[in-house]
């Protein structure tokens, strides 16, 4: 435990050190990577461990984003409290949805959460206090003056996002290594056997859904921070799909993999841009090429390495070992 804390502190220090030495755009992308890391951790916990497929993580993120923005704007609270409320409300929402979800299996759950992801932006459009299509502002304010003149806004985003990401990863990895993590794996691999050994399977599934939603909500608030805005257009179906892709690329049940998945998700639009420019394609190219790459990666990885790239390496090593 003490080693782990030391590791996370060291990692955080290293990230901040790197953050000091790269240009503004990379710092901003660093904040995005941190945001995706939190969101992917929520999927790993839910899908990789408790075996429930949710396609509605974008919707959960929206709940967090709106909760944070409303807290900040209406109550004029400090930022940390806004993030806390994001976690609280999305957890509450997740618990409600999880209660329904625990009774559903595979396709039903996937369809229901998909419906939510399609519909939530529509719902958000309808209510005045959510600001309709333009959304509501979410301004975390300037970095504290004591960091000096050099300290930019993006760097402030990056610090907050990185801190929250590391904190989330730390907590999540502890939860997954605890009794809960093992119980979820048991339910996923054989729910009947798990119930026979005294596990209250639906209660545990609801718990997984709640924690996962809390993480997604936090990610939603971080996303809102980086774009200074909460709007239905930020939490689209495309986002939900991208998150699933990132989780599959990372290996659905590998927590360290999420950082890699997040990195890929941020890198893809960059790569697509370069490709679109070099092929001289029009507007369609730059709009749809990232989606094309994401979907192709998703399909290829789900067919060839459904359990993540790590599995194939392990298998390879295993085969080698047995040959010797």
């Amino acid at each position: 435990m003490r080693k782990k804390i030391a590791f996370f502190i060291l990692l955080g220090w290293l990230l901040l050190f790197i953050g000091d030495r790269v240009d503004e755009l990379r710092v901003y992308q660093g904040a995005q990577i941190a945001m995706y890391t939190i969101a992917l951790a929520s999927i790993v916990l839910l899908t990789g461990y408790s075996g429930q497929v949710s396609l509605g993580n974008g919707a959960m993120m929206a709940v967090g984003g709106y909760a944070a923005a409303l807290t900040l704007n209406k109550l004029g609270s400090p930022i940390w409290f806004a993030f806390l409320m994001a976690v609280f409300f999305s957890a509450l929402f997740g618990a409600l949805l999880g209660t329904a979800a625990a009774r559903l299996s595979g396709p039903y759950l996937a369809g229901t959460t998909l419906a939510l992801a399609v519909g939530l932006p529509e719902i958000a459009n309808q209510f005045a206090f959510l600001g309709g299509v333009p959304g509501i502002l979410f301004d975390v304010g300037f970095p504290p003056a004591r960091f000096g003149e050099e300290f930019t806004q993006y760097k402030w985003f990056f610090w907050i996002a990185t801190f929250l990401a590391l904190l989330s990863l730390f907590i999540t990895s502890n939860i997954l290594q605890s009794r809960f993590g093992r119980t979820w794996s048991a339910i996923r691999s054989n729910s009947l056997a798990a119930e026979l050994s005294g596990i209250h399977s639906s209660r545990m599934k609801i718990l997984a859904f709640t924690i996962s939603s809390a993480l997604a909500g936090l990610a939603g608030a971080v996303l809102a921070m980086t774009i200074s805005l909460v709007a239905p257009g930020a939490y689209t179906l495309t986002l939900s799909f991208a998150l699933v892709t990132g989780a599959v690329l990372a290996g659905v049940s590998s927590l360290p993999g999420v950082a890699l998945g997040a990195l890929i998700l941020v890198a893809i639009p960059e790569i697509a841009d370069v490709l679109a420019n070099s092929w001289g394609g029009g507007e369609n190219f730059s709009n749809y090429l990232p989606g094309l790459i994401v979907s192709l990666l998703l399909i290829l990885s789900v067919i060839f390495t459904p359990n993540g790239p790590g599995e194939n390496l392990r298998k390879h090593r295993h085969n080698k070992a047995s040959e010797d």
Partner: protein
């Protein structure tokens, strides 16, 4: 009273389109045990092809025929080149339960991007084959139009054709048999693999019709069929995902119900209403309205 009747008629017209989408989902679910979220994408691509033909030839029905053909080929292609490969590879590990669902999502994204690359994101519309203006009875004009009537007629014809195929032909028998008990069907000499691909093709064709009909009174964009997919799914769940009759009943009920919400409450609650129906059905009657006693856990 008049408003009630109008709402009912429009509801049937809306519901009949949902019926096609939910049938497409049910057909695939029965044979493959996958809810094919890519159905929205397949239907969209077929509709774009139908749109191209219809707008060039200026004949809606030619476009519809092409959309059906394209949808059927696409459906068969997805099963043959995609699902078979997937099931061959994804056999073990924590991801095996989620792999098919995620794969269909990937396919949806892929088709959406391809459509976007070719046609772009702007809204397209298809010249409707019939007037969108409501019928005039005596002095009053009702919102129910010739187009609505045409939609109901087209869907009815398709449903009757499907019913004949499934009840009266050998193909229908093998489709039902391989969905009900694949191994026994195989022992009885049915080529289950080929039958499954035919099932996917039928589903694809039906989805293509749904896309064309929705587009005839709406617009077409890479995202325009998402809502149809969701409502089709809800309808299929009402029917229990297994039953074709159930899904049609579910779709009509949903269509009528949502039109009532639209006419009497307002636009803002239509989606929430649909979602509420989904949650209530899943909680109270998770096996659908057609379930008889026995509870299936899948």
């Amino acid at each position: 009273m008049q408003k009630l009747l109008e709402t009912l008629l429009i509801g049937v017209s809306t519901g009949s389109i949902y019926a096609l989408m939910s049938l497409a989902l049910v057909l695939v679910w029965r044979s493959t045990r996958v809810v094919n979220f890519a159905q929205a994408g397949q239907a969209m691509l077929s509709t774009y092809i139908g749109f191209e033909i219809a707008s060039r030839s200026e004949i809606f029905w030619l476009g519809l025929a092409c959309a059906i053909t394209a949808g059927a080929l696409l459906g068969a292609g997805v099963d043959f080149f995609f699902m078979r490969v997937l099931f061959k590879h994804a056999v073990s590990g924590p991801a095996v339960v989620v792999a098919p669902v995620i794969a269909t999502l990937g396919l949806l994204g892929l088709i959406r991007s391809i459509v976007g690359l070719i046609w772009g994101g702007e809204f397209k519309s298809i010249e409707a084959p019939a007037s969108k203006d409501g019928f005039t009875i005596g002095q009053t004009t009702i919102p129910f139009s010739a187009l609505n009537l045409l939609i109901i007629t087209t869907v009815s014809l398709i449903l009757i054709t499907l019913a004949i195929i499934f009840q009266r032909t050998n193909l229908g028998l093998s489709l039902r048999a391989s969905a009900y008990a694949p191994e026994i069907a195989q022992l009885a000499g049915i080529k289950t693999g080929r039958t499954r691909t035919i099932g996917w093709a039928i589903a694809g064709g039906v989805g293509g019709v749904a896309g064309m009909l929705v587009t005839s009174y709406n617009f077409l964009s890479p995202y325009s069929l998402d809502l149809l997919l969701v409502f089709g799914f809800i309808a299929a769940v009402i029917g229990g995902l297994e039953s074709m009759v159930g899904s049609v009943i579910g779709a009509l009920t949903l269509g009528i119900g949502l039109t009532f919400i639209l006419n009497y409450v307002g636009t803002s609650l239509v989606f929430i209403g649909g979602f509420a129906v989904l949650v209530v059905v899943l909680l109270l009657k998770p096996d659908g309205i057609m379930a008889r006693g026995k509870v299936r856990r899948a």
